[in-house]
Symmetry: C3
Subunit: 173 residues, 3 copies
Amino acid sequence: MNHAASLELILGGARSGKSRLAERRALADGRALIYLATGTPGDAEMTDRIAHHRARRGPEWQSVEEPLALGAALRAYARAERCIVVDCLTLWLSNCLLLDCWPAQCDALFDALDDVPGRIVFVSNEVGSGIVPLGALSRRFVDECGRLHQRLAARAERVTLVVAGLPLELKNP
Amino acid sequence: MNHAASLELILGGARSGKSRLAERRALADGRALIYLATGTPGDAEMTDRIAHHRARRGPEWQSVEEPLALGAALRAYARAERCIVVDCLTLWLSNCLLLDCWPAQCDALFDALDDVPGRIVFVSNEVGSGIVPLGALSRRFVDECGRLHQRLAARAERVTLVVAGLPLELKNP
Amino acid sequence: MNHAASLELILGGARSGKSRLAERRALADGRALIYLATGTPGDAEMTDRIAHHRARRGPEWQSVEEPLALGAALRAYARAERCIVVDCLTLWLSNCLLLDCWPAQCDALFDALDDVPGRIVFVSNEVGSGIVPLGALSRRFVDECGRLHQRLAARAERVTLVVAGLPLELKNP
């Protein structure tokens, strides 16, 4: 029996409307809703962003936070009758690089995706279309982010790029 | 009677050909043409860019400049028989943030859009697909730019992303 | 008799999968394969990237390197029965700007494209969709890159934007 989750990937630039699209798609899916935030309220600016997103979502969402062990969190929360929105992968990658647990956490994510049931909608930032950043860490971040997007996109059933709140379908069953 | 202007939004990266596409679309519209520049010839580099754009446009264009009060400028110049190209929104946003008159000028723009007649083609830079900038002001710029694009895109009849001079339609009646 | 090469342009952000797509398209073309790298193994990081790309390609590829005189290299290697993948234009532009031989090398490229036979697939980075960079040289890089993309896209038979490994056709015969 195949328990692999059905995956969707939503990409977009900063403030492109990607979280909002992910929420609409998850609502339309009809399952119980979980919002898995990879950001943690570590500073005032991030606290504001989290509050802004939370205020928009309704009470039908259960919110959980996991900055690093995303694969483990999906194993804990994924159920066939649930749709999990993971928002966002770039912050998760950034957390893992800073705490030096990449690529182990990345492998753990893809292992989990083969095992867990239900539906998962990933939100992630396009970060590779600006000028190549100067620092070696920033370049590594951009590289790993691109690799992660390619790997997830190959595995996902649906991939959408959001520009100015408007969806551009990259892969659509 | 509904006087609301008909809007078009043309997005693209730096030197993607977005101004040129806006000019072609405005010319095809058939109305009298106004080019509303939000840049001012404040330094040599900007003077060059403005001259470069101006040389390309023909004598059928009336040129006006307004770095901040875009809503007021549209109220002054918009007529049912005119098509106004606003080039570009990112520079206008940048001007407003630097002089601390955002979001008042943004609200004034959207108020004006409900009242003025004619056709308006907005040109704006995609700035949110690179790595997240380090400074708080730059991050605010990217955030406000994304919000502005979403808000205008929702209101516009047509939205186009330009890549390498080639149009990718995001919203098309 | 028209000897002008048939051109394809593949654009994408960092690690978007654009080189891989170029290789697949070149393989499908059926001609003898040449990989023309514009990067040179000048530092450890670049050496790693070149080795990574080279390991992926099979023995059916002949590899050549030319960091500056791209037009001359195409004149030397292009044949009607060959498909050349040029990877990548942004690195070439960067090399030329640093050694102050732009726009002469750019003109030499377009002159060569009118004269040489065969098929050429160009790979290039989208760099203009992030925040406008602070330095004058970086801004010039972004500007020239955008102009180059527009000029090549106008001349190419096929233009594709790659996002997360997935192709978005911008121009397709």
